[in-house]
Amino acid sequence: SQKIEQNSEALNIQEGKTATLTCNYTNYSPAYLQWYRQDPGRGPVFLLLIRENEKEKRKERLKVTFDTTLKQSLFHITASQPADSATYLCALVMDMGRRALTFGSGTRLQVQP
C-alpha cells in the first residue's frame, strides 16, 4: 500500500539557518506533490505544489525539490525565522478523479531565536 513518510522527530534549528524537511513515498507515481503548513489548533495552509516534470520550485524563502526516481521531496526554508515554527505536511494526490489528498504525518519545525 501507499506510504508517505516524514521524519516524526521535531527539527530544531537556529534562526537564520536553512531548514530542510524530507518527504518519502512508496508504491506510487504522483502527478504532483504539495506541502502544507499547520499551526497548533489550526487547519493546514497550502504552501507549494511541484509537478512530476519539475525538479525544483521556489516561492520567496521556500524551495521544494521533487526526485521521482528516489521518490522523495525536500522542502527548504532559507533564512529561517521563529515565525516559521510549525508542523509541515507533505501531501500527494492518489486519485486524480477525486483529488483527495493523502498526507504524511508531518514534521514539526522549531526555530530558535
Binding site: S8, R42, G43, F46, R98, R99, T102, F103
Partner: protein, 114 residues
C-alpha cells in the same frame, strides 16, 4: 470571503450520541472534503463531494454520513459516537477550475467521545 468555516469548534459527546459537524464555504468551490486527524498522524479522508448531490466514501467512512444539498454546505453526521471517533475533523474545499489542486481548509472541529 470567510473561506471555509466549521462549527462547532469543540464538542464532547457521550458514547452512542449523535451530532452533525457543519462545514460551509463561500468560494463557490465544487469539491469538498472531510478529513480526520488523530494526534501525531496525517489527515485521513472520510468522505468527499465533487458537487451538489454527489458524495462518495474516502479512506475511513465507517461511522459517518454526509450530504451535499448545496454547493456551500457539506455537513458530516456521526450517528452513534464511539471513542474511536475522538479526533480533530477538518473540512476542505477546492475549485473546479484554476488552482484546482489547492485545498482550502477550515479551522477544524475537535471532538471528544467519552
Amino acid at each position: 470571503n470567510a473561506g471555509v468555516t466549521q462549527t462547532p469548534k469543540f464538542r464532547i459527546l457521550k458514547i452512542g450520541q449523535s451530532m452533525t459537524l457543519q462545514c460551509t464555504q463561500d468560494m463557490n468551490h465544487n469539491y469538498m472534503y472531510w478529513y480526520r486527524q488523530d494526534p501525531g498522524m496525517g489527515l485521513k479522508l472520510i468522505y468527499y463531494s465533487v458537487g451538489a448531490g454527489i458524495t462518495d466514501k474516502g479512506e475511513v467512512p465507517n461511522g459517518y454520513n454526509v450530504s451535499r444539498s448545496t454547493t456551500e454546505d457539506f455537513p458530516l453526521r456521526l450517528e452513534l459516537a464511539a471513542p474511536s471517533q475522538t479526533s480533530v475533523y477538518f473540512c476542505a474545499s477546492s475549485p473546479l477550475r484554476g488552482e484546482t489542486e489547492t485545498q482550502y481548509f477550515g479551522p477544524g472541529t475537535r471532538l471528544l467521545v467519552l
